[in-house]
């Protein structure tokens, strides 16, 4: 017998044992087990997911409150302390070629990068959920048409198109909303608009199977309308894969934004996003490698944490799928 089968058998035996224990003592312990509690129990067993969540919480708090606590001006020039290495007095992360403080710039950059990730995710998942839900629920022609559109979007060359649209529409939008907010709006909308296809497919698949279930029939019999059935009855049952996809989407969006910034098509040169900091720092790779390595490392760490958290969530919420 193979190891895989043996492991499976061992698992089954231990499971039966715990179940027996639960049966004999479960009533005494009292507390009922909830779905969320079960998910949390599975999530806890995933040390890397816990570590990832912890790092993310720290990053988020630092991005929100960091600039309020560490109040050093991120744009203040200091020509005495140019390109000082990290750990120098007054410069915990070092300074750049104009003597600007890298810690202050990284904290502010984290705000932008994390915000881009979250907002782009909300757009992508919202759009994907809507398309997937309508396609899966109504089926037939609607489904065919929507899936054809989805396939079309999947065939678009994403990165070239992003480069193109951001570059072309940068001027009018920044004129209307201001430098940073304008670019933020285009980048986030375009990343979201080109990334919803996967979640649409996931949601459609869940809807196709869920709409045949008895509880939908019951709701229909009670006279519940179509849209409430879709979003109040079916959608909550399809949440698990959506949450996992949403988590991973944040990481992808952060990488996409930093790639755009790196290629010089993202935020304006003096806005310290993480990707932009890496680009600017890469010119001093020989003399001051920390300028590129620290912000790059922050991107990497944030995305790695998000991916580990997504993996943990997948195991916790959606135990059957594994990737």
């Amino acid at each position: 017998m193979s190891e895989a089968n043996q492991a499976l058998d061992a698992n089954v035996t231990s499971n039966t044992a715990t179940r027996l224990q639960q049966l004999s003592s479960g009533i005494a312990t009292g507390k009922p087990r909830t779905l969320l509690g079960d998910a949390w129990r599975r999530f806890r067993k995933h040390p890397l997911a816990i570590a990832g969540s912890f790092i993310l919480v720290v990053f988020t708090l630092a991005a929100i409150f960091g600039p309020l606590i560490y109040t050093k001006n991120r744009d203040a020039l200091d020509f005495v302390n140019i390109l000082v290495p990290p750990g120098s007095p007054g410069f915990p992360f070092g300074s750049d070629h104009l003597g600007r403080d890298l810690l202050a710039r990284s904290l502010y950059g984290g705000r932008i990068s994390l915000a881009v990730g979250v907002v782009a995710m909300v757009i992508a998942i919202g759009l994907g959920t809507l398309v997937g839900a309508v396609a899966g629920f109504f089926g037939g022609r609607v489904d065919q048409a929507l899936m054809r559109v989805t396939d079309l979007f999947l065939a678009l060359p994403i990165v070239p198109l992003l480069l193109l649209t951001v570059y072309l529409f940068r001027d009018p939008v920044t004129r209307a909303f201001g430098q940073v907010l304008g670019i933020f709006i285009i980048v986030v909308t375009m990343i979201g608009a080109l990334a919803w296809m996967q979640s649409a497919r996931i949601v459609r698949a869940s809807f196709l199977s869920l709409k045949e279930k008895e509880f939908v029939e019951a709701a229909t019999a009670l006279g519940v309308g179509k849209w409430p059935i879709m979003f109040r009855h079916i959608l909550p049952n399809a949440f698990s894969p959506i949450i996992v996809a949403a988590t991973l989407q944040v990481g992808t969006a952060i990488i996409t934004e930093s790639t755009l910034s790196f290629l010089g098509v993202g935020f304006p040169p003096d806005t310290p996003t993480w990707g932009r900091l890496v680009t600017d720092g890469s010119e001093y790779l020989q003399t001051a490698p920390h300028l590129a390595l620290i912000p790059g490392g922050l991107i990497f760490l944030a995305v790695l944490s998000i991916n580990f958290m997504g993996d943990g969530l997948r195991d916790a919420l959606d135990p059957r799928s594994r990737l």
Partner: protein, 319 residues
């Protein structure tokens, strides 16, 4: 099978038309004048600019221009570059070999590494090997390509001086030394792409193997008394490869996108570098042709994936 392939091709062709239309519309509706650089030049009077405008057909409404562009593009003529004043197709043909060389080699290496790792990871699930491989594949797809590139440059080109930083495209392979030089300059850009692609492919191979391992046919093969090796390598691997082959074909556009980053990082003058410079120069004909070529690549490889899937798995054909 012929019918299945035909159906797929018939879906792919209109897709390409729609995509080319969308890209053309975006380019035309965007503000910004392709002749703006002439406006700043005092040597070119207004009348000359108007003349250039009519000569290039820029005074026509954009749907008309699109129809013309499409008619010419179908004959392989993508127009003239504003920046270099040479045919777009010539420029692209010059650059294509560099991109294909780096991208193709990287993909082959990534596949050759990822499949064995995926197999071992799945067969020895939760072993030390699997955990290390899992960790590294997470690292692999969490690190942006430009950051891998910068670290490799810092370590191997600046500190150790093993490989050159800048790719020399004029290098011709005439002797053993120039061949070695070529291999050395390709090493870093290829490695960046390999890191990115191997990570994803390893996970796909592993999960596909894990889907197959508990199935009945595996049990039957074992019950017949086949050796573990034969069961895994002949029976499970060949079935697990079916979805992975599709993903390999679908991953090709991603690796071209990755090439945009590496080409800019290492100054390989391939298609990706051309795209960035053309966008920055508002060289619309080149941008249009390049974006369309990326679309053709994506659609073609989607088609290849569909056909391969149909060939390998008869159930799909009659779906």
């Amino acid at each position: 099978m012929t019918q299945y392939i035909l159906r797929r091709v018939l879906i792919a062709i209109p897709t390409l038309f729609v995509i080319s239309f969308v890209i053309y519309a975006i380019l035309s509706l965007a503000p910004g004048d392709p002749l703006a650089q002439f406006a700043a030049n005092p040597a070119i009077p207004e009348s000359t600019r108007a003349l250039i405008r009519t000569q290039f057909g820029l005074d026509q409404p954009w749907p008309v221009r699109y129809a013309r562009w499409l008619g010419q593009a179908l004959q392989g003529n993508f127009g003239w570059s504003f920046a270099t004043r040479s045919p777009v197709s010539d420029i692209i043909m010059q650059r294509l070999p560099q991109t294909l060389q780096v991208v193709g080699l990287a993909y082959l290496i990534a596949i050759a590494i990822a499949i064995p790792i995926g197999i071992i990871s799945a067969v020895r699930q939760y072993s030390l090997f699997d955990q290390v491989a899992t960790f590294f594949s997470f690292v692999g797809f969490s690190v942006p390509a430009f950051f891998t590139g910068l670290i490799l440059i810092l370590v191997f080109a600046i500190n150790l001086k093993w490989f050159p930083i800048v790719y020399n495209t004029t290098l011709e392979i005439v002797s053993w030394e120039t061949f070695v030089q070529q291999v050395r300059q390709m090493f870093l850009p290829v490695t960046v792409l390999v890191v990115q692609q191997t990570a994803a492919l390893t996970r796909f191979m592993r999960s596909s193997m894990l889907d197959n391992l508990p199935l009945d046919y595996v049990r039957t093969a074992r019950a017949k008394g086949l050796a573990d090796r034969v069961v895994v390598l002949r029976h499970v691997v060949s079935n697990s490869l079916i979805p992975v082959v599709t993903l390999i074909a679908l991953g090709i556009p991603t690796i071209f996108a990755g090439a945009i980053v590496t080409e800019n990082l290492f100054r390989v003058n391939g298609l990706g570098a051309l795209l960035i410079t053309s966008i920055q120069n508002s060289d619309t004909p080149v941008v249009m042709a390049l974006t369309f070529i990326f679309a053709i690549l994506t659609v073609t490889f989607n088609l290849v994936a569909d056909v391969l899937y149909g060939l390998l798995d008869p159930r799909v054909r009659y779906g």
